[in-house]
């Protein structure tokens, strides 16, 4: 334990290309980059599928079967095929982040009470308006939920990507392992746990801030009438 405290208080570990600020910055950069690309691809597709109801089964099956894909294997295979560097691991992170975002967006839009959508249509809203002003805000809790699990997935996988020479906080674990420096490994894993927990809390706060207050009591007091869809 003393060695870990020593590692954290050693000024050498807080500066330079292998310092905590740099490694943390790298990790955040990979996470944001992969999440943004995944969101740009998955959210529009999820919205469209949720709105039209077409291909929903395929999305859910795809998301479920991709969960079985060993992320470490995908990373290693991509690095082996396309060489080490930034692109192969980022591609792997994006591929792994798409299913949760897609499933969350689809489920969010799909779970919106059909009566609300019908009311919007009755009020004269066009399809685009229904999607952006009714389905999107109503589905936001599940959409952000999908982004949250994708983010955790990316942070965890970016850690493993240090094995295929990516930077970020995972470097401390991989580098520490190669020289049997257990203090460095432990410090890296503590930093990673903190990063993941803080990020998730921030996203939870964001979820609370962005979701319309009108949705909260309604969600708690009555279960969503999912079956209405089959009846209508």
């Amino acid at each position: 334990m003393n060695a870990i405290v020593e590692w954290f208080t050693d000024p050498a570990n807080w500066t330079g290309p292998d310092g905590v600020p740099t490694r943390l910055g790298e990790h955040l950069f990979y996470t944001l980059l992969a999440l943004s690309i995944a969101a740009l691809i998955a959210i529009p597709i999820g919205l469209w599928i949720g709105h039209t109801g077409r291909g929903g089964f395929a999305v859910v099956s795809l998301a479920n079967s991709l969960r079985a894909l060993p992320t470490f294997g995908v990373l290693v295979l991509l690095a082996n095929s396309f060489g080490i560097g930034l692109a192969p691991p980022i591609v792997a992170l994006v591929v792994l982040a798409i299913p949760p975002v897609l499933a969350g967006t689809y489920a969010g839009v799909q779970a919106v009470d059909r009566a609300i959508v019908d009311a919007a249509r009755g009020m004269g809203m066009g399809e685009r308006e229904i999607l952006t002003r009714v389905e999107l805000p109503n589905g936001l809790p599940l959409i952000i939920g999908g982004l949250r699990s994708a983010t955790l997935q990316i942070i965890a996988t970016a850690t493993i990507a240090a094995y295929v020479a990516l930077g970020g906080l995972g470097r401390y674990i991989i580098d520490g392992l190669s020289v049997r420096d257990f203090a460095e490994m432990a410090a890296g894993s503590i930093l990673l746990a903190l990063l993941a927990i803080v990020t998730d809390l921030v996203l939870a706060g964001l979820q609370r801030a962005l979701v319309s207050p009108g949705l909260r009591p309604a969600q708690a007091s009555r279960p969503r009438p999912r079956r209405l869809r089959a009846v209508a």
Binding site: F72, L77, F182, A196
Partner: protein, 220 residues
Amino acid sequence: MNWGWIPRNLGLVAELTVEHSWLALLPLLLGLLISVPLAWLATRTPLARSVLVTATGLLYTVPSLALIVMLPLLLGLQILDPLNLVVALTIYTVALLVRSIADALDAVPSVVVAAATAMGYTPLRRFVAVEMPLAIPVTVAGLRVAAVSNMSLVTVGAIVGLGGLGLLFTDGFQRDIPAEIITGIVVVLVLALIVDALLLVVGRLITPWARTGQAAGRQR
């Protein structure tokens, strides 16, 4: 692509598959055994529930490699002890299951619980014979998610030198044998699909009422 690697190493693949399976499934069983009483506790008091949900939620966010590296220090084990991996995956399984089982227990209609009480069931017997069976479908759904994710997570252990099919990834990467890496990915996928299907079938078999009762039981 040296596909010749596969026929030459079938024995190794089989050996690692067996090791991989128990490394993934033992935590699943342990996780289930731990989750049921915890979920029961969560349904008793709101305080226990919020503590359990928060604690398991936090544990679930910790990246797998970080947890595998941290556990030897916390448990006083050698880094190469497979027990680290078993404990890490048990933690993830519990984190996944506690919340969903607690929700499922809450969803048991209160009239059913009241009827069982009126028939003379003691609280423990009522839990075992009435409430828990009604929570099986949700529990099985949670177990399927945990089983599939465990199958994939075991491979992360190979980074620190633990066993299982992940060794095909580290070895294939170091010796530049793509066929070895692909074999590992495919076998892990197949294992996950088999366990997922098995759990689905077992879940259906032990809840015969869910099949016949779904249409009739909903009506009042």
